[in-house]
Symmetry: C2
């Protein structure tokens, strides 16, 4: 299954050809068909690779934590690929996150590869693109892949379907809105970090997390731990790292139960994305879409009548093609 392209990325001495890898990723990002064909060939899924997703609301200290985790992985002699994903910044292409990491200690470390990704298109494209890049990195021989995402919305939840271990970073006292924001992502978090644990309100936040964990107990035996850290002072990082590695071992031991539902989410997203592209191409093609919009603007039709018509135009063929 291994294509001749992979050895070009990982050199015999264990280091990576970062420029070749960056080129490969650009090819993947720029053309979906190329990505599909390339990854159908290159894809590998070694048990030894751990994909660690780090997420949380703005201001929770994710970048500092990511930095610490990368540091610990490097100390253990592991090679690390970092993917900084920013779903809400079409302008910067995720560059702000990426730059922050790039400016860190590991900028010139040949065992660390850093890539930024921003939002492209509104129809689930970023999650799919992230799957592709992470799957490529997983396939090319890195020991660990760290995904950092900004925020705790649906985009982040989608993106993290590709992560083995999801670390959710929260901080005390972010206000009541955080209450509302937390729920969606709570379900997919494997490890909770209460960062800035020297702040007021820590006990309350820990109690709130415990309460939600009680409601959502059965995870094939894994009870998400709550790690307290002060990332800026490197406090609590060893404890967090221990949990990250424990979870990695847990995923290996319960591969089918843990990976299968994640894989199902990825497949659904990828299939939907593939069809979406066809729909958008169809809608954009010719004057049909423009004519529909004209009719709506003129009050001759309404959007729901048009959708019914589109539905009769486009249909999903579910029979085998043979």
């Amino acid at each position: 299954m291994r294509s001749k392209k992979t050895p070009d990325i990982k050199r015999p001495d264990g280091s990576f050809d970062q420029r070749a890898l960056a080129r490969l990723i650009s090819e993947i990002e720029n053309d979906r068909d190329t990505a599909e064909t390339m990854l159908a060939k290159l894809y590998r899924d070694p048990d030894t690779v751990q994909v660690i997703g780090i997420t949380g609301p703005p201001g929770a200290g994710k970048s500092t934590l990511a930095d610490s985790i990368i540091g610990k992985l490097r100390e253990a002699g592991k090679t690390v690929a970092v993917v900084a994903v920013d779903p809400s910044s079409p302008f910067t292409g995720g560059a702000i996150l990426g730059d922050r990491i790039r400016m860190s200690t590991y900028a010139n470390d040949p065992g660390v590869f850093i890539r930024s990704m921003g939002s492209r298109g509104s129809l689930g494209g970023l999650a799919h693109a992230t799957f592709d890049v992470v799957n490529l990195l997983r396939s090319t021989g890195f020991d660990a892949v760290v995904i950092e995402t900004v925020g705790v919305g649906q985009s982040e939840i989608d993106v993290l379907a590709v992560a083995d271990t999801v670390v959710l970073t929260l901080v005390p006292g972010l206000g009541d809105d955080v209450q509302a924001l937390k729920a969606g992502i709570m379900e997919i978090a494997d490890i909770f970090v209460v960062n800035k644990a020297d702040r007021d309100g820590k006990e309350r936040l820990v109690a709130e997390i415990r309460m939600i964990l009680e409601l959502n107990r059965d995870r094939f035996g894994w009870v998400p731990p709550i790690c307290e850290t002060v990332a800026t002072e490197h406090r609590g990082i060893d404890g967090l790292m221990e949990q990250v590695l424990l979870h990695g071992a847990y995923v290996r031991d319960h591969r089918d139960a843990v990976r299968r539902p994640k894989l199902a989410r990825q497949l659904e997203k990828m299939a939907a994305d593939r069809i979406n592209r066809d729909i958008l191409a169809f809608l954009g093609k010719g004057d049909k879409f423009a004519a529909w919009l004209d009719a709506i603007m003129a009050g001759e039709r309404n959007p729901y009548q048009v959708i019914q018509e589109i539905g009769s135009f486009i249909s999903v063929r579910t029979e085998d093609r043979s």
Copy 2:
């Protein structure tokens, strides 16, 4: 085009049958086909209705601002429907936001209708459901619809395609992450609010917004104003309300230029959502999907080979059905 159902909602005295409306919305939310059929009949788009979207990061004071705007609309004798959308809370169904508004001054006001909506499913379902509910409210005779969303991610941007006027609420000093978060939503904001304008860092935030507005100037003659408020003390609300009404007039005067691209985004989203449902139903049906997952878990195939196979199974029929 007016169905016999609409008059049941709005009574001859101008008040609304809130229970009948709530029931109608539940029907829409629970069954997509019903929603499509019902809205194809009920849909109306009177020029006089303004749909106002209020968004911004957690802690920006959106609920207090929404409250003030509702108050001003009520003072002017207008009926108001409020839709509280929380894309990231599948557990609460958006209830936290909604409750906050419900507990406010307008809870027992017969001229105010309040509805909460939370995330359902990960494939763009919430945006589509919000379009449906807002389009229903627009059709049933309210003078204004206020949408409040939590956050500034892609889900919120999608949801706000149905709003005529987008109010983006920011506050000074929310940290560097807000920098990154702002970009995506900046493009769709019609009015900027710098809330908590008595805080340090106001000048810097205003300057940053101005800078981004410079890059993104041409909006068919509308230059998004920056309103400074202290919502908790009702300061700056009159100025904000003036801009909201000005923008409403602007949308009426430039209906085609403003509404058409928004309508196009809605249609794309709705069409994609419709097909997604077919795909998911297909993937979930029978043992096909399970067999694919088995093959991936066993290492016999990889996800990209499966997607290529799914692609050969499902196709979009673009010919007319006649």
